[in-house]
Symmetry: C2
């Protein structure tokens, strides 16, 4: 059984030249494709690949976009709320917010009636960039899921939310 | 609008103590929840969290498990085929395979009729660990997707595959 499968002439220490010509021989994915986890990860990674390509112009990673979009829809949201919503650890969120602040996209302002609380807001530049990025995201979503009908897309989202909600 | 939302007393530089008491105030996720990409990522991360918890006993990360499972179902598979199947870059796969080899779970053997090609095989210890890990994976999948009916689970997997295949 171990020698039944024809193999390409390659070594495990593949060079970039090898990488440019990956084998097309199909592999039996066995158990993996029966797992929701594996399939959700593969679908997510395939959409993220397109996301990174199209969002490169804005210099936004997936989580940066999520933070900006949440702040746009929730002006004054706290760092803690962003952590809870996006499942990001507080120390990581501090760095994310600081980087977006340095870029002039968001600003933190004290709560009007509670000096100890800080809320995150978009700057005018942040509002503009987020609006453009949201349009790009909606378009790439459509492109990345072009094989789904509108009804299938709706069903897929509903079932995914049933898993994580 | 920026002060309409009540906020907890916290600062963006959240300490671990803050992290232990995340706010429960709901945030408007706006556009995000309408995106397949966002929902697939959230579902994937929620399953991966359980995966890491249950797989810690085997010292297997998600990608380690995927590699072992693929090798189990494709004895003699090449590094290049593993890269293509799992969307992993060749330099990263080299490290993954070397680490599993050092743990005595897999071994590389030359192709019987082509000395330049190397195939990846499970060792007897690898066969045993992979069988246990696959059982654990199947069980945690069921637990992580317990809110889905069998039919919904099947539909979800089919639609996810339609996105990335």
């Amino acid at each position: 059984m171990s020698s039944a499968r024809p193999r390409k002439k390659t070594t495990p220490s593949a060079t970039p030249a090898d990488a440019a010509a990956p084998t097309n021989e199909p592999v039996d994915t066995g158990l993996l494709r029966t797992l929701v986890g594996y399939n959700a990860r593969r679908a997510s990674l395939s959409i993220i690949a397109l996301f990174m390509e199209r969002m490169a112009v804005y210099h936004l990673k997936v989580v940066d976009f999520s933070v900006l979009s949440l702040v746009a829809h929730n002006p004054g949201v706290t760092s803690r709320q962003l952590c809870a919503t996006l499942n990001v650890l507080p120390p990581n969120m501090v760095g994310l917010i600081a980087a977006l602040e340095r870029r002039g996209l968001i600003e933190r302002r004290p709560h009007p009636s509670d000096g100890r609380a800080m809320g995150v807001h978009l700057t005018p530049a942040g509002v503009e960039l987020t609006a453009q990025a949201e349009q790009t995201a909606a378009q790439l979503e459509e492109d990345a899921t072009a094989r789904l009908t509108a009804a299938e897309r709706k069903t897929l989202i509903r079932l995914l939310q049933k898993v994580y909600d």
